[in-house]
């Protein structure tokens, strides 16, 4: 089990993050990382706090497509969209 509770510079994303999308991201992260995750917030950093690696990003995106019944535009994805759960939620919201 991983417990994380952090603040970050992406608080703007955190404030505006859609709770449904954040919940879907947490579920997808548990699936991709193969572990139970607790205390995940919109401010949790994907790479630094959760040790997500570049190969797992693709699996995460496909899991989110399934969970939210949507299609991700991989051409639009930028590094800053993966800074935190909130930043990714913002990217997903724009893609829907």
């Amino acid at each position: 089990m991983t417990t994380v509770a952090h603040t970050s510079a992406t608080s703007a994303d955190a404030v505006s993050a859609d709770p449904q999308i954040v919940a879907a991201i947490v579920t997808a992260l548990c699936d991709v990382l193969g572990q139970e995750l607790t205390d995940i917030t919109a401010e949790t950093r994907l790479f630094d706090d959760l040790s997500l690696d570049s190969t797992a990003v693709l699996g995460l995106l496909m899991a989110l497509e399934d969970a939210l019944d949507m299609e991700v535009d991989p051409e639009s994805l930028q590094q800053h969209h993966l800074e935190s759960v909130g930043a990714l939620a913002g990217f997903i919201a724009e893609s829907r």
Partner: protein, 474 residues
């Protein structure tokens, strides 16, 4: 696949008597005394991948910062008459420590600017003072020996007048494609995993359906790889036909948006391996091929983690990789390539050998161990090259880490212990203003011991010392 063979033996990598670097110097520049300027532009694949369409893959900012500071590996490959370009000066205590081991260090040239997000070459191109020094070295006949040659190193050569020891980047890029590797294996009749080379979206769609029918629906996984991806990074391992088709649709959407259906991907059946191997040879300007060594490669989820050597190999496997080196090297030379080459290979569960998984026609991690193993490794000793993860909240000085490691560090008198071969990566991802949150650091080391048991004990002790350093309250 080659037949299973018996009687594993310890195969010492035994670099050539003249030394790996001096051999490469002669092979790549034509003369023995050519001074080199080494440049550790790691993950040069990112430059080769520009303009190519593959898988949507992104890494974190800190990962890039660490990779960019792997430039410091070049310090321990270069000879005393060479120069090394680094993004920042090494820790002075680290240099003193290396000197105390008897290592003859090259002259260090430091870029004027250091942006953690940029490779050493990008920083160098933005460094007028450094560029002037390189022009002066060019005038003295020095050659550039980068980690790998991309358009950025072409530009560096053009702007400084330094000739490269490697061919121009378009040629180097072409032989580093995983599509090239697969086609070469087929042409040479080398055993390879079932797979498909995909250069258009249509070809990818057709290949994926064949892969579903022949592999995934039969319970076997496939890997979808970026043709220009970094080893172990630009890859998706898939065991579900729905997921594979979903990935095809994602790639197709990206291509449609670009209005260009060209892609560069391969699909391969995921082989059931027991051991990853990395073998290494040098292709000279004259077309000669020198076999350098074979090592056991340590990987985790396909990502490189280190090496063990001597590799435990059957005599037949050693002969097979030497034969593959000669044939692959000759073909590379015929295509106009010269340079250092590492090939990833694997032993399968039935002790068969897949001798050509991918060609890395650039320096490999194993390349950077050669000078140290020549200097410190003794007959009968065994080595482990690996990385240790740290989570510091404040910058770690070399002196502090040296004191923490104490007797675990190499004793030149016995030839046993840890040699730190990259310290810059420890603090590479440190924020400008640490805020108490941990960052990821990485310490690279080469461990030498008299037996496997002694080596494993040393590894455990180093891991524990490093853990205590970044978790002092434990």
């Amino acid at each position: 696949m080659s037949p299973p063979l018996a009687s594993p033996v310890r195969h010492a990598p035994a670099p050539p008597a003249a030394g790996f670097l001096d051999g490469a110097r002669r092979a790549l520049t034509g003369t023995a005394g050519t001074p080199l300027v080494l440049l550790g532009n790691f993950e040069v694949e990112d430059e080769w991948a520009k303009g190519e369409s593959g898988l949507p893959m992104l890494a974190g900012r800190n990962s890039a910062a660490i990779v960019n500071r792997m430039d410091e590996f070049a310090l321990l490959l270069a000879g005393p008459d060479d120069h090394v370009v680094l993004k920042s000066a090494p820790d002075a205590d680290y240099l003193d420590h290396l000197a105390s081991l008897g290592v003859e260090l090259p002259t260090v040239l430091v870029t004027d600017v250091q942006d953690p997000a940029h490779s050493v070459t990008v920083d160098a191109l933005r460094s007028p003072r450094l560029m002037a020094s390189l022009r002066e070295l060019a005038g003295r006949g020095a050659r550039l020996l980068p980690h790998g040659q991309s358009a950025l190193e072409d530009e560096l050569c053009e702007r400084t007048g330094l000739a490269s020891a490697l061919p121009p980047s378009p040629l180097v890029k072409s032989v580093n494609s995983k599509i090239y590797s697969r086609r070469l294996a087929t042409e040479l009749g080398l055993p390879l995993a079932r797979g498909w080379e995909c250069e258009t979206v249509g070809a990818f769609e057709e290949a994926a359906e064949e892969a579903v029918a022949l592999c995934v629906d039969q319970g076997r996984r496939v890997g979808v790889k970026d043709a220009y991806g970094v080893s172990g990074k630009g890859i998706a391992v898939i065991d579900d036909s729905r997921r594979l088709r979903q990935l095809v649709r994602m790639v197709a959407r990206g291509a449609a948006k670009r209005g260009d259906d060209r892609i560069a991907l391969v699909i391969e059946e995921w082989a059931d391996k027991t051991t990853d191997l990395n073998y290494h040879f040098t292709v000279g300007r004259d077309g000669s091929v020198r076999f350098d060594f074979v090592k056991e490669a340590l990987t985790q989820n396909g990502v490189h983690k280190g090496h063990r050597f001597p590799a435990q190999l059957d005599p037949g496997h050693i002969a097979a990789v030497q034969d593959a080196s000669a044939r692959i090297g000759a073909r590379l030379a015929a295509d106009g390539f010269h340079g250092v080459v590492g090939v990833d290979a694997m032993l399968t569960r039935d002790r068969g050998l897949l001798p050509l998984l991918e060609i890395n026609a650039r320096n490999n991690m194993s390349t950077y161990q050669t000078s140290l193993q020549e200097r410190f490794m003794r007959p009968g000793s065994t080595a482990l090259a690996r990385q240790y993860e740290l989570s510091p909240t404040a910058r770690v000085s070399f002196a502090r880490l040296r004191d923490r490691l104490g007797d675990l560090l190499l004793d030149p008198a016995t030839g046993r212990g840890l040699i730190i071969n990259n310290f810059a990566t420890v603090n590479a991802a440190a924020p400008a203003d640490p805020d108490g949150r941990p960052w990821t650091g990485r310490l690279y080391g080469l461990l030498l011991a008299g037996s496997t048991a002694e080596l494993d004990a040393l590894d455990r002790a180093v891991a524990e010392a490093v853990r205590k350093e970044t978790n002092p309250d434990d």
